[in-house]
Symmetry: C2
Subunit: 394 residues, 2 copies
């Protein structure tokens, strides 16, 4: 897909030597103009140095940023020199770009508890900045990957009353993925003109329906961060109805990114979309959907193309939400397998065939009186997840 990118941003990536394998590991996004900036961060009590520093920079700048500097291969978390390295990297970049250091947002992803050699980043910054002239959006999206098998981007263009505005986003997976905001890294850029507070509110809302509805393995990372820069290069400031349109487009881009992460979960062969409906509140619906998504028994059944709906019912029942099983209908790939909490009759062989697809849909419908629903993404659990994670560091 050829992305229509927001105006006024430049991109660069280089290999700084942080990963063992020679593959770009340092990415940079720069806005030509000071941009309104907002971010959401992990709620893990253990937070990486770049998470703490990015939070501080956003506070000190009042929500203005010019650059996002991200490395893969090392999380810079639980490290002696973590704060120093994160700050030194931002300082070196700020000096080079002639911008205040508080307008640089740092981010890291990779192994926890191993010192990040700051020298590697400092040495790479001249080449990184030189690359800004020709660098591409997708090369940054590739530089931030860890165990991902493919890079993940999404974009939107919308015609507002004053003209056209664009949003583009990139993200990475693929393990330690559980939505306690934000999961993983996500960087979004837009050429709309928005105040930091408005941007923050829209990012939070879009996060709810996207990254908060995503789980690969139920592990919440120490480095999660979703950040957005709005540089106003389009000259358009969405207001009123336009703001609603913009917010919806942002949510759609983030949902697209989140669902790409689910599809590329570690070892995953299938993306699973879970739709819970008829709950008393969106929160209840999301809790049941999350319980289904986090059930290793459901995920292994899908891996084996086994329509074992009893596990789905059981998982939802353990979500801590009031539930009357006799009001529950469950379908897999739109084939009803459970009606009123009991087995429905279906062709097991035919359904097994349908469950071999790369996309799996679980519908969990409660027959009223509630009307709230939620969508959630996850992936199947395969032997490859084990293989990848039994020897991640080695």
């Amino acid at each position: 897909m050829r992305l229509k990118l927001p105006r006024g941003f430049r991109y660069a990536a280089v290999y700084a030597g942080i990963r063992k394998r020679k593959k770009n590991d340092l990415g940079l996004i720069v806005s030509d103009l000071p941009a309104a900036a907002a971010a959401v961060f992990t709620t893990n009590r253990v937070q990486a140095a770049p998470v703490r520093l990015a939070r501080r920079h956003l506070r000190e700048s009042g929500g203005v940023a010019r650059a996002i500097l991200a490395n893969a291969g090392n999380a810079n978390c639980a490290t002696r020199t973590g704060d120093r390295v994160a700050l030194a990297s931002c300082l070196a970049l700020a000096r080079r770009l002639k911008i205040p250091v508080r307008e640089v947002l740092p981010a890291s992803t990779g192994v926890i508890g191993v010192e990040l050699p700051g020298r590697l980043i400092l040495d790479a910054i001249p080449a990184l900045c030189a690359r800004l002239k020709h660098g591409r959006f997708a090369e940054v999206a590739r530089a931030i990957l860890t165990t991902d098998t493919t890079h993940k981007t999404a974009a939107a263009e919308m015609a507002l009353s004053g003209g056209t505005v664009r949003i583009a986003g990139m993200t990475k997976g693929a393990g330690m993925i559980h939505p306690r905001m934000a999961t993983t890294l996500a960087f979004l850029v837009t050429d709309a003109s928005l105040a930091p507070a408005a941007l923050r509110a829209m990012l939070r809302e879009a996060t709810e329906s996207s990254y908060h509805r995503l789980s690969v393995d139920g592990d919440t990372s120490t480095n999660d961060m979703a950040a957005i820069l709005a540089n106003g290069a389009s000259g358009i400031r969405p207001a009123g109805r336009d703001r609603t349109i913009f917010g919806e487009a942002l949510a759609k881009v983030m949902e697209e990114l989140a669902s790409q992460i689910a599809g590329d979960g570690e070892g995953a062969r299938k993306r699973i979309t879970i739709l819970v409906s008829g709950a008393r509140s969106v929160e209840d619906a999301a809790r049941m959907a999350r319980a289904i998504a986090n059930s290793p028994l459901v995920k292994t059944a899908i891996a084996g193309a086994d329509p074992n709906w009893g596990r789905i019912l059981s998982a939802a029942g353990s979500a801590g939400v009031a539930l009357d099983p006799s009001r529950v209908d469950i379908s897999l790939q739109n084939v009803t397998v459970c009606r009123g909490g009991l087995a429905a009759s279906f062709s097991e062989k035919e359904l097994k065939g349908k469950l071999a697809a790369r996309e799996c849909l679980i519908r969990f419908a409660i027959r009223g009186p509630g009307r709230a629903s939620a969508r959630f993404w996850t992936c199947d659990l395969t032997e490859d997840y084990i293989r990848i994670n039994a020897s991640y560091r080695t």
Copy 2:
């Protein structure tokens, strides 16, 4: 191990034809005298028919029971005929044993959502009762197994002021194991004389330090039940200090059973014991221990003998408990791998060798000011878990 069994109980198991494989699938425990009875049940909102009926029988009898009737191979959950089949089975047994039906506690384990053919149980009851004359404790323990690779029993004998009292217990695993009381099935018998209320209180307390500290895969079953019968055949009624001794012995038996389940988790090659100390409350300690135990990344790292302590720190950080990482020390197999939230120096090669053992110990010590601690059991996550669960029904 030759168990010293409590006096006044008889045991039997037969093959009723519920499992496909010809292996006993119906077990019975009978007390010669009416016994005080107590039980704890799953908190899943989806509850199997035998769970509902056992609860009702306990209520109706005021905590008195004579028999536990348990089948494997079918959970009798989310089934059209579930209540009818559970009741008919209890009635047939009660008639045969000439006891009130409310003194029979039913239990089932196996696949969810498939009708349990009641006829199979009714037809087997004469043979089952005939077998009571020669049946053994261990044969019931074997009859209730599903994906377990071995049967699980534990026992205690204690000298109280009035004489000797015995406790014996059996349990089963091995998947859908997550402690929201009780996990799996556990049946305990004792020849002590205790009032139902006292028995209930002791069972609840013992459950806290045993089954509530156990996780295989984080999935809470619909059929969980731990029941104890105290028939007084020893003639001894523990009171005062004796009651404390008895309660501790009960907890120890149940802890032994819970830890056996962890060691035989589906696909497990290692039992993992997690000790969290220095927390502000036992609940906080247990929450962090549970988060570590439920982390697939920690469990796969242990499977791969990889001392990836960053995942342990990250998992504890996501438990929703206040935590200052700089006060955390982590050791694996008593080798310190993290000190004050940072990497400690250790021989990776030597530790990898130690982590190849069947027993793995994770210590997560917070340096005050809290003094509370908790122990938790789980197992490693291997490819075999996936293999077993991708085709459980087929």
